[in-house]
C-alpha cells in the first residue's frame, strides 16, 4: 500500500472537486438568493438532495446516470469518455456531495449582502455582470470561501457515493476513506491504521488552519 500516493490522490481529487463545484455552485447560490422563478423550489430541493439522502443512495443515483447503460453514461461513451470506476468518478462523487454545502453557505452570504449596494451600483451605470463581480461577490466572499472550505472537507472524507461509482481500485480510485474501508474489510488492519493516522493528521491540520483564519478576521 502506498500511503503517500493515496493521500496525495485524495487531496488532489478533493481540490479538483472543489474547483469544479465553484462556478456552478456560486451561480446557483446567486440565482437562488436573488431571483424568484417558477420551479425555484424544485431547484432548491435537487441541490439539497445529496445532503439529505444517504450518501450511498446518492451514489446509486449517480451510478444509474453515469454507468455505460445510463442516460448520461451512454452519451459520454459515444464521445469515448469513461467515468465509472475511474478517477473522474471520484471527483464527481466528491463534487456532488460537497455542492449542497457550498450552495447553502454561499447563498446565505449573498442574501446578507444589502441589495442597496447593488442598486446604487446599477444607478452608477454598471451592468449585472459587473455588479456581481465587483460588488456582490466580494461582499459575499467570506461566506463563499467558508462554503468552499466546508465542501472541500466533505470531499476529503467522502465515502458512500465514491465507493458506488468509483469503487476501490488500488492505485486508481482508492481515496483515504475508501482505502481504510477496503483494508478493514479484508483484514489488513495495520495498513488501515496507518491511513487512519494520516486522516486524523489532515483533519487536525485543517481545523487548526480554519481556526487561525477565523481568529485573524477582525470582529
Amino acid at each position: 500500500m502506498d500511503a503517500w500516493h493515496i493521500t496525495w490522490f485524495t487531496i488532489v481529487s478533493a481540490t479538483a472537486a472543489t474547483a469544479l463545484m465553484l462556478p456552478p455552485g456560486v451561480a446557483i447560490a446567486w440565482i437562488l438568493a436573488r431571483y424568484r422563478f417558477p420551479g425555484r423550489s424544485i431547484v432548491e430541493t435537487i441541490v439539497s438532495l445529496p445532503l439529505v439522502l444517504p450518501p450511498v443512495a446518492t451514489g446509486l443515483i449517480l451510478l444509474l446516470l453515469l454507468s455505460r447503460r445510463g442516460i448520461i453514461g451512454r452519451f459520454l461513451e459515444s464521445l469515448g469518455i469513461d467515468v465509472v470506476f475511474t478517477w473522474k468518478a471520484v471527483v464527481i462523487a466528491m463534487a456532488t456531495m460537497g455542492m449542497p454545502l457550498l450552495v447553502r453557505t454561499a447563498r446565505a452570504g449573498f442574501e446578507q449582502v444589502d441589495q442597496r449596494y447593488e442598486h446604487v451600483a446599477a444607478t452608477l451605470g454598471a451592468r449585472p455582470a459587473r455588479i456581481f463581480f465587483t460588488i456582490s461577490l466580494p461582499l459575499a466572499a467570506p461566506s463563499v470561501i467558508a462554503g468552499a472550505v466546508l465542501a472541500f472537507a466533505r470531499a476529503l472524507g467522502e465515502f458512500g457515493a465514491t465507493i458506488m461509482i468509483a469503487g476501490s481500485i488500488p492505485g486508481v480510485t482508492r481515496t483515504l476513506a475508501v482505502a481504510i474501508y477496503s483494508y478493514t474489510e479484508t483484514g489488513r488492519d495495520s495498513s488501515a491504521f496507518v491511513l487512519l493516522g494520516i486522516s486524523a493528521a489532515i483533519a487536525f491540520g485543517a481545523l487548526w488552519i480554519a481556526n487561525k483564519l477565523s481568529e485573524r478576521r477582525p470582529a
Binding site: R116, Y117, H119, A121, A122, L124, G125, L139
Partner: protein, 217 residues
Amino acid sequence: MIALDFELIQGSFTLDIHVRLEGRAAAIFGPSGAGKTTILDAIAGLRTPRCGSIQTHDHVLYSSSDGINLPPRDRHVGYVPQDVALFPHMNVQRNLLYGRHPGTSPEPSRVTAMLEIDALLTRRVSQLSGGERQRVALGRALMSGPSLLLLDEPLAAVDVPLRRRILPYLERVRDELGVPIVYVSHDREEVQQLADEVILIDNGRVMASGEPAVVLG
C-alpha cells in the same frame, strides 16, 4: 426637469403621483411612510410603476403605454440613498471612480475640490465620519455624470451643526455643476434654503406643490 405621471403599488400602499418639476432643486416633503423614497426609487428605475410615465425633458425613462422601462444603468440618474451605501470593501477613491465614464463624467479633481474630499481619497469607508460619508456619496453620484441627482434625506443622519456645513456643498452642486436635484426631506429649514419648489406628499398622493414659502407656510 422631470414629469412624473405614474401609479405604483407597494404592498398595501398605492402611490399616485402626477406632478411636473421645473426648478434646479425640488424637494419632496412629507411625513414618514408617505412614499417619498419610493418616488426616488421609481425615478431611478429601482422600482417599476404599475402604469404611467416618467420623463425628463430629453428622455423617456418609463412609459407603460410605449412599453419603455429603462434599466437603472441607462437612466443617467445619480442616487444617494438615505443610508449612503458607500461600498464598504472599497476605499474612497474607488468608490468615487466606480461610475466614471471618461467621456461624459466631470473632471474628478473638480468634484473632489468642490466637495473638499481630496484628503480622504485613500481612506477606507469605515474611517469616515458621517459628514464625510455624505460628501463622498455625493461625489460618487456626481462622478457618473448624471443628468439628474436624487438624494434621500441627505441631511437626516447628520447632526444640526454638521447640517449647516453640508448644505453649502449641496448649494454648490446645484449652482456650479448645473445638475438638477430631486431630494427627499422632512426638514423645513433645509427645504426653504435649498429648494426652488416643493411637493407635499401624504399617503401616496401629491397634496400640494409650488414654492417653499407658499407650500410650507
